[in-house]
Amino acid sequence: MNWADLNLMPALPEIFLLAALSFILVLDLFIPDEKRDVTYGLSLLTLAACAALQLATFEPFATTTFSGMFVDDPMADIIKVAMYGVTAAVLVYTRQYVADRGMFRGEYYTLSLFALLGMNVMVSSSHFLTLYIGLELLSLALYALIALRRDSAAGTEAAMKYFVLGALASGMLLYGMSMVYGATGSLAISEIAAAIASGHSNAVLLVFGLVFLVAGLAFKLGAVPFHMWVPDVYQGSPTAVTLMLGAAPKLAAFVFIIRILVQGMGELSGDWQGMLVLIAALSMMIGNVAAIAQTNIKRMLAYSTISHMGFLLLGLLAANEQGYASAMFYAMVYVLTTLAGFGVLLALSHAGFECEKLEDLKGLNQRNSWYAFLMLLVMFSMAGIPPLAGFYAKFAVIKSVVDLGAVNMGFGMVSALYLAVFAVMMSLVGAFYYLRVVKNMYFDDKQSDAPIVVRGEMKVLLSVNALALLVLGVLPQGLIELCIEAMRQSLAVL
């Protein structure tokens, strides 16, 4: 490699993000506590600038740089712009919450930006080594964020659990990667794909590594049977951080899976399809059934996340462009819904009070009918009731499974219809606990008269966010076409 050949343009947003975050890190030392809003404003400004740079350097095809380790394709561009938006929304939603709980410190913002940088690297890597470093950047920032409220025993416990299980998952992922390296002789995703396609690689070693890779990915995604950490971590973390780790990282994890399983090992789709079928079916079942028994709404949303990850995998296991596009659409809609749902919970929390029990939502309609309506939109969208975006997302992934005809389960082909019917049944089971929240809000008497005080910018953003679910549900065509086009352009090369 020659220095003159090094094209930094595709990585411009990441380089800017790193520079801006280092600047904020140092500047924050000189800001007194009462002017911490400067850090907050600068972080938002950085995110806006990153999004602008991302759009300015947009190319409708894939470009690679850093000796092919960094790839900038339309899929990465779209997901990254979405992640900037989501992170900005998270910062706005949590502004008051962190201030009430002694977390309104510079570290909260720099760690969030570090996490975003890690996600960006995950999304844009085309090499196992950079994929792994991106994942560790994200995870390390999240461990610290969860434990940031040091006097909270639940937070420390959640951070510890997440740390230990995350390390285990990283170990599995690395072990799988080393096996794949042994079989193909390379860590670069394009070379792995070429080696598998040539048929000269060691098939036993490949599948052996694939099993560990899928297990590690399922761990990170929080899919059954590797889901044990999700409810505890969601419940134990401060709600602000729960939102941080439940929103944008799911988008990054989706691209992470696409890069490893589809772009790297797409030839082995016959082998991983069966594994994903099992994981998806179990996730939908256990997630939806266990959520019914929860009284803590954060825990309930954690189980609901597990079931949503099952639905996301439905799109992936179709192993065709339409399936991937529908999974991408599902991930985007899921993140938008989660954002609005936790946004309402954050709006209802105030100093000394955490809105995290199902009873805390009782009679919300009497207290403030607008927030009750926004929460209703979120719950209907999660349950998949038309005309909300969640319905169309579920429809798209189930359609991609039905179109498949039959799935390869390893022991033979099984009709995909069974899986589709099972998914519909499970989403019906899930509707129960989503609608219970709506019943609590509209048909029960209020439990408290505490006024709901929300900062102006959050009120506007939260309303736009929840109403976007309605708009996307009525007019999903634009976003889904964007997803299909991005998938077509991104999977064509490499």
Binding site: M1, L6, S67, L117, V121, L129, L140, L148, V204, L205
Partner: protein, 212 residues
């Protein structure tokens, strides 16, 4: 059996044993010392692979710097690990069984003729004057430039996270801010409770029998 193969097996046996002792040692200082042995032995593995620079780096960085710091921390904090992991030995047999079954399964797959690991050739020996450092340096600063920079970012993040999590005001600190002392008002220190000036006469229960 060739000499390098014998060395490999001896080193591996020591490595596995010391790693096992790290987990099971009752005294945290002993665990740290076993970890030193584990690192040292694995640097022997690097040497067998003709990666002298990595072997030396492992000894210098891990054995020399990281583990010594680790020992300091363990000694200063005086943690009673045995109390923290009550129930460890109770669950140990089950964990060991699961682990052994997993190892056996993996060995069965990898040792099967279909895996034909024997087909892999040993790496050709390097020339006598080949320089590890030069090759590594060239690779790190050209092909692997991006992971190298990202590893630096990871270290920066680790510093920020460690400081954010550990820096706090001492609970037993005697430091007071004079400005805050001056600003104190009576209401901050003293609470006045309103009470009725006259209290009702207590009712005496006359049926009460005198205690024996």
């Amino acid at each position: 059996m060739s000499f390098p193969l014998i060395v490999f097996y001896v080193l591996s046996a020591i490595l596995l044993f010391s790693a096992f002792k790290v987990v099971t040692a009752k005294n945290p200082v002993h665990a740290a010392l076993w970890l030193v042995l584990a690192f040292f032995t694995s640097s022997g593995h690097w040497l067998l692979l003709q990666a002298e620079f990595l072997a030396i780096a492992l000894v210098l960085v891990y054995v020399g710097a990281v583990m010594v710091l680790f020992l300091f921390v363990v000694m200063m904090l005086d943690i009673n690990i045995e109390k923290m992991r009550a129930g460890f030995w109770q669950h140990f047999p089950l964990a060991a069984t699961v682990g052994l079954i997993m190892v056996a399964e993996m060995v069965l797959i990898l040792a099967s003729p279909q895996a034909h690991l024997a087909g892999y050739e040993a790496a050709a020996p390097l020339a006598a004057d080949a320089s590890n450092v030069k090759v590594l340096g060239l690779q790190i600063y050209t092909t692997y430039l991006m992971p190298f920079e990202l590893a630096a970012v990871l270290l920066l993040l680790a510093i920020v996270a460690a400081i954010a999590l550990t820096q706090r005001e001492r609970k037993d600190g005697k430091y007071v801010d004079p400005a805050m002392q001056v600003e104190v008002k009576a209401a901050d220190r003293l609470s006045i409770v309103k009470m009725a000036a006259v209290r009702d006469e207590p009712v005496i229960n006359e049926t009460n029998e005198p205690q024996a």
